[in-house]
């Protein structure tokens, strides 16, 4: 890229060398401890949830999850050492890489339960759309930061939307509706933090609301089916769970029973019949929070929510410390990305959000999600270390 004379001068301050001692001092230790706490807590919870899932090997998932966590922590440290400007300079590569991963997935991917989200690499399964979330945040932050004051321009917003729609569609077609929603939320959050005009933000909200209405209710009634019927049933089902308790709303019924049955102190790993007898489907991944609530009760669930709140709070704090627009937008995007995932996943198990298969950050069994989220925390740390 072309360097301007002004920019050379301006770089002097943000590029101030980060000495090792200040690196350690400038890390957001509260954020690290909160994330570490969630990961450790998550592994402990998973050990109770999955003890009967693989016959004869009660520790199968725990061991895998611990390995993924270790990989993720290594990635986190690496990320925090990397200057966030790196992502900004290579924004095009970031975007191209993300699109490439998402295009390749359906070609190489294994069909699991009618979706192609995973690529098998050795004994592990790699889910590119999980890493795509972080890459989308970084790319949009770079793009919007480069636009500077042009951010107020309608064209900037439209181009940003156009660039984000491609990965959203690719993920949507996998099909993975939940992750597509997260991508869309990331787009909204980065635009919002970048300073898009209020009029445009509200127009986007209205447009989103209309799109949702169309996809869920209007479209089907005039014969345009964007979603597969089972997806629509599950999404609209949460508004009226008792409509078909054994069919499309079976999951939500069983999940709510599991959460409620946990009561204050939980039923423990052995007494949790909803989890152990498989009434609750996908209890290690999508419905991990329901299983947790059943086994560890209100106390256990609240501990997790408080830890999450701490993480989100620290992430938002990082936004205020950011040294430049890119870092601020990226931090805001990551914070919102985590928030929306937590809300959708927890909300769906307690009947407040539609059922879409997205993992609970740092807890659900699954390597890609674990590693990708830890990498995102790493980016937050790197922003925090190189603060203003």
């Amino acid at each position: 890229m072309v360097d301007y004379a002004a920019s050379r001068r301006a770089r002097v301050r943000p590029r101030a060398r980060v000495r090792e001692s200040s690196y350690v001092r400038n890390l957001d230790w509260a954020l690290l401890l909160a994330v570490g706490g969630i990961v450790a807590y998550g592994i402990w919870v998973v050990s109770g949830i999955t003890k009967d899932d693989v016959p004869g090997n009660p520790n199968y998932y725990v061991v895998r999850q611990a390995i993924f966590a270790a990989v993720g922590v290594a990635g986190l440290i690496g990320m925090s050492l990397l200057d966030p400007g790196f992502w900004r300079r290579h924004a095009r590569v970031v975007y191209g890489g993300m699109i490439l991963m998402l295009v390749v997935t359906p070609l190489l991917g294994k069909t699991v339960r009618n979706t192609r989200r995973w690529i098998d690499i050795g004994p592990f399964r790699f889910q590119p759309s999980e890493f795509g979330k972080l890459l989308l945040v970084l790319f949009l932050a770079a793009f919007l930061a480069e636009r500077g004051k042009a951010i107020y321009d309608r064209r900037t917003t439209l181009i940003a939307i156009g660039l984000a729609v491609i990965p959203i569609l690719l993920v949507f077609l996998q099909p993975d509706f939940g992750t597509a929603i997260v991508y869309a939320a990331i787009l909204g959050a980065t635009l919002f933090i970048a300073g898009t005009r209020w009029s445009q933000v509200s127009a986007l909200l209205v447009l989103g609301a209309f799109a949702a209405t169309f996809v869920l209710w209007l479209g089907p009634s005039i014969g345009v089916n964007v979603l597969k019927p089972y997806q629509r049933e599950r999404i609209t089902g949460f508004t009226n769970p008792s409509r078909d308790p054994s069919g499309s709303t079976y999951n939500i019924t069983q999940a709510t029973i599991a959460v409620g049955a946990g009561q204050v102190s939980g039923r423990g790993p052995n007494g949790a019949t909803q989890t152990n007898y498989n009434y609750l489907p996908e209890h290690a991944t999508d419905f991990a929070f329901a299983s947790l609530s059943e086994q560890r009760g209100f106390v256990g669930a609240t501990i997790l929510l408080l830890l999450y709140l701490l993480v989100i709070w620290r992430a938002i704090k990082v936004v205020t410390l950011a040294r430049d627009a890119f870092a601020a937008i990226a931090a805001g995007g990551i914070a919102f990305m985590l928030l929306i995932q937590i809300f959708i996943n927890v909300g769906m198990t307690i009947g407040m959000a539609p059922i879409t298969g997205i993992p609970l950050p740092f807890v659900s069994v699954g390597g890609s999600s674990m590693v990708a989220n830890l990498l995102a925390i790493g980016v937050l740390q790197s922003i925090c270390v190189r603060r203003r």
Binding site: D52, R155, S293, F298
Partner: protein, 668 residues
Amino acid sequence: MASRATPLRPGRFLPRDPRSEAPYRLTPQLAFRIGILGFLALTVFGVLFFRLWSLQVLSGNQFLQAAQNNQLRLIREEAPRGPIKDRYGRILVGNASATAVQVWPADLPHRGAYGELRRLAGILRVPLGDITIQIKKHRGDPITPVTVKEFVREPQIRYLYEHDTEFPGVQVVNTNVRRYPYGDLAAQILGYVGEISDIQLKQTRGYRLGDKIGQGGLEASFDKTLRGRAGLDQLRVDSLGRPISPIEPKVPFTPGYAIRLTIDAKLQRAAQQAIVNGINIAQGNKNWYAKAGAIVALDPRDGAVRALASYPTYDPTVYTTRKKKDLAPLLDPSVAQQDSFPALNRAIAGLYSPGSAFKPVTALAAMQEHILAPYNTLHCTGSLTIDGHKFNNWDPNANQWMTLPTAIAQSCDTYFYQVGKSFYDLPGSRQPLQEWAKSFGFGAPSGLDVGPELGGLVPTIEWRHKTFTKKTDPGNWQIDRLWKSGDSVQLAIGQKDLQVTPLQMARFYALLANGGKLVTPHVVAAVEQGGGPTGGPTQGPLVLRRFQPPVKELNLDPNAIQVIREGLYEATHSALGTSAGVFGHFPVGIAGKTGTAEKLIDVGGGVLRLTNTSWWCGFGPFDAPKLVVCAVIENGGFGGEAAAPSALHVFETFFKAKAGVVQTKKAD
């Protein structure tokens, strides 16, 4: 705002705005937006927190009750397995409904489960250990029932119904079991069905604990086709796990597809009977160790197997009733040996020396190599000495100059010793006889669509070298590892190391019958849907897939094949032909060759005895062959004595004709 004026550089993906590099600061606007984000986060967590409070603390009791009374239970409804039919649609393997007793481990009482299971074991006469092992295996999956016994008899069922309150968690259900209307017909080919084992569960995908899976034969090799897809039923149960609502189907099952065989049940029955007849004849001739045999009947035009019999055999129903006494010959090695291994499919996995039945292979190979002129005569004598070893003819009084057809017809060993010696004397390192034998399908499995098939052995110089080493043969390894003239001589008449299966022999005779084409034998003709008992009577089955394995043209010399066919026809029709007494008066022209392979067997207690494997292979009608038959009677004496009349019986059934006079003779 005036930002419209900012030029967007055309042609650039990310135009850079110099002003963005101005010192960055936290604008009030950004601070406000961060505040909104924070407020949103607080709201989200607040909402989640209060919802959890309401669910878990305020109405927790209610949900706990719902969980305890979770009455919805999804149960898998197994799909009926597809039938196996013969070529005319006769059901060889069908389904019958039976009553099974199942235990739901989750519903067993916490106290007294052991006592209950012990009582149950007593009633059903199942070892208690078997039940507890099964339940332990299902520990990770407490809502899939454990089948304790299929095929439970009426009085036991009635007892369980009368005392059902004393057996919480025990359920009587209807299930499908395999039915075999033809009893022991083609048992080794059909295979059987059983509960999936731990090893199979690890090796296969798409199966679950407690599933039934084909455990051998066609049931195993076509399991995916036959099994169909299980359905899901929903059931409401009370706290004891007893159903309180009728079963409500949720996902209907898909019945398995049918497979149609090339086998003709009638001919198969005849072939099985023919082995028994052959054994009886052999025993009548004081060959007391004749107890087993095999017959293969092939269509030489496309390799379709018409009959594939192995004796002794068994009725696969024993795998359903699972009585220990009936299963012992199949599962217990020592009992199996006593009963001559009824589970072994001798037609495809029995290895034998073919003896003289192999001579056409030698003849064809020699003519292809141009080292044998069929109409020049060689001297057939009572014995022949080669390199200092004396090799005997089966008929010590032979003394005649013979052409190839006569040598085949009278099965002159010394003639073929000379051919074998010519192969040995060929210069160079090639081993043409072995190479031709391999290209005719020997030494490797034929590719039959049901297993387990063995490939046998075509001995070569390299094989000798590899097999006899200091370790395996410490006394004579230096001599044994060499290929000697005697090895070539013995191979020429199909003796010593050569090992073949009856199916391989039938395949080679099919090649002679069809003029040089190597067929791929197969027993499955098609996969079908519907028809038979599951579809309506008026509509025929829908063929989903047809199997027509390739036929390989070997481009052999047609004259060479014709000469051998002549010899085979003389063997069954000329006065001195080895099986002329058996086939000479049969209304359809049959051509074929006897074989008698010497074998040392251990008759118990380490006593060795020399016996003969009795072979006959041939085809008919001579002009346009429609059927190849290969028969083996283990330890049955001369080929003309036991195997030839067995094969005749198969031809009689196939051509619906009777032979007038049958005279067996002690002829190789």
